[in-house]
Symmetry: C2
Subunit: 408 residues, 2 copies
Amino acid sequence: MKQSQLFGSTRRDISKEEVSKNAILLTRGGYIDKEMAGVYTLLPLAFRMAEKIKNIIREELNKLPHTSEVLMPVMQPHQLWEATGRREIIKDVMYDIKDESVGLGPTHEEVATELFSHFYNSYKQMPVAIYQMQTKFRNEPRAKSGLLRGREFMMKDLYSFHLTDEDIADYYLQVKDAYMRIFARVGLNAIYTDASGGVFTKYRSHEFQVLAESGEDEIYLNQLGDRAWNKELVNENDPEFLQFCEGVIDKRSAIEVGNIFRFDNKYSAPLNAAVTNKSGERIDVLGASYGIGITRLIGTIAEVYGDIEKSKINWPKSVAPYKIHLIELGQDLGQDMYNEIVGAIHELPAASDILYDDRDESAGTKFADADLIGAPMRIIISSRTLERESVELNGGLVKLTDLKNKLT
Amino acid sequence: MKQSQLFGSTRRDISKEEVSKNAILLTRGGYIDKEMAGVYTLLPLAFRMAEKIKNIIREELNKLPHTSEVLMPVMQPHQLWEATGRREIIKDVMYDIKDESVGLGPTHEEVATELFSHFYNSYKQMPVAIYQMQTKFRNEPRAKSGLLRGREFMMKDLYSFHLTDEDIADYYLQVKDAYMRIFARVGLNAIYTDASGGVFTKYRSHEFQVLAESGEDEIYLNQLGDRAWNKELVNENDPEFLQFCEGVIDKRSAIEVGNIFRFDNKYSAPLNAAVTNKSGERIDVLGASYGIGITRLIGTIAEVYGDIEKSKINWPKSVAPYKIHLIELGQDLGQDMYNEIVGAIHELPAASDILYDDRDESAGTKFADADLIGAPMRIIISSRTLERESVELNGGLVKLTDLKNKLT
């Protein structure tokens, strides 16, 4: 992609209203544009990141058994929420449509459970699971954390339905493993964290927490740093907790990038999502839900990989909007030479992953922009490098003839 | 994909409320599930179709110069619509959020134009265009046409911004050509149709119309059948119209699957989307918008390729959720043999495009379901075919050893 044709641009002066690291860096970098508090346009750079993250999630979730991708409606009848007793609880968070008994989906347990009930009535058809990647809406009182807490945001939500305790427990762990792979692939070290399951369930829920100073959650890490308890769950005199901590209490701020909840028949009972078992009795199915904030992931990766003082991000390769930033310096170099180099790079598998800064700007501007755009590989072509039949790749001279090997 | 693991199923008895051909066939086929009037879940089969259509659209639009994909917010401040004078016009169609001066986007001219103004101020940066594929919301008084007219639906919308009359006219025609390629690729014969541009513009708009008895539009076709005028534009005494018709009036029902509008400075003037020209004067940019209904396309293809009497659809290969439906008959055939056949087919590029009916159902049920699911290629394996070391491919016996050649 030629940078001169890319919609949007980096920005130096941005609104003082943006106080979060991710919003400042992503706005400066030309990734996002704020429409109102908690509501952003994903410009081409952030849109590409979201697509890459979605593809990683899809690849991992499609490995799960009996799991299909769907798209449920955003609009949800209030009556479903009244049936499960959650209407009162959700009232402040759910955006309602004026003059209609309809709200915008902040989550889809009710809709998914009712959808299930339209198709399933026998143990023979069980288990089954559906997921979607969709824009969600929540009337957040605080919306000052950029992509970490949006009023309109992109989420992956998965709902599974099971006949037996063993089956739901087994699938729950399979999703946990898929989540750990997803977070690792997008460059995040997510810590599997015990959390309160809420008032409706006897189970704990589990969160995937990424350490970050800006995180709104507080977690207590174990000594290895690979397991945690959410503060909400912790009583510092609880023997189980003390055993978990081994006496060394390490309390850290973290961002919740995913969560998984087992709620059994909380929604299936009121919504009549029951199937007949082998004996012909109707039993409520057991359910669980599993979420990942897709736009929140973009914000989290920016928090972890960004440097606000240096106005710089260094994205992981897997999610960078473009893997290679190709920068030309000086207009006196022949078009033929550029074509040759760009052509050579474009033969690589990463062809569509090159952002080519063809703009008539100074070297200083181009480098400052490249720092903000944050591609993991930077190739510079100038008369100085071409004299040596070379380009500069991440700071080192590389012969043109060697470039392909270095990139693959 | 094993059919036993696919979420949803075909349905025989469906609500009498569904009166449109596409909704009846897509509901019977297990493609969609209705949540409320005009609001449907896309089940895995329809979700896959939507993804295939989106990919075709993306491939064609990414060929256009200076055109980037973005994702703008669904939530739109009323104030933008007040600024352009469209708030009153849109009032009945736009869903508003209770207690907020915010509505849900039925279209994005205002948002896109304001977004443009955040980044562009010089002729040097022009032209530029953005598109998105997004869920849109419209409070349609009639919502009885299934996916042809949804209250919540998926749309591709593109907005372009130009400095000169020549440039906008040229881009407009490039989009027209891209649209014709898109519709041809999804299996539709779209007719380029002159229509009224509305009260705000001196230009006609253009629609892409597909002939169908169920179509809500009426168009007058030329003799070759490749150009049309929308009825709204026609005065049967108009000499231009008479020349167009060459005296032979062929009035037909049609479905509008896309439209393109040139509106010049209608939105840029009130929203201050101006750039400086070479002389340093600020001039309003010229704009146009271009839409394709993605879920409406699914409905239209079902209208064109479906047969309600036979409970059958025969999807074009390019958009079928699965290209190949592999049906096993009889449970006495060894697993090894199946594995071998399925393995052989899976080596093909179409690997992920096979739906494998592994269910313990009768041949009659399997064939009836396959008719509704409508894969363009059907492979049947039974003891009868295997005795001849063959399978049945779209009704004809094919040796196993020849199958690969037949499929590629």
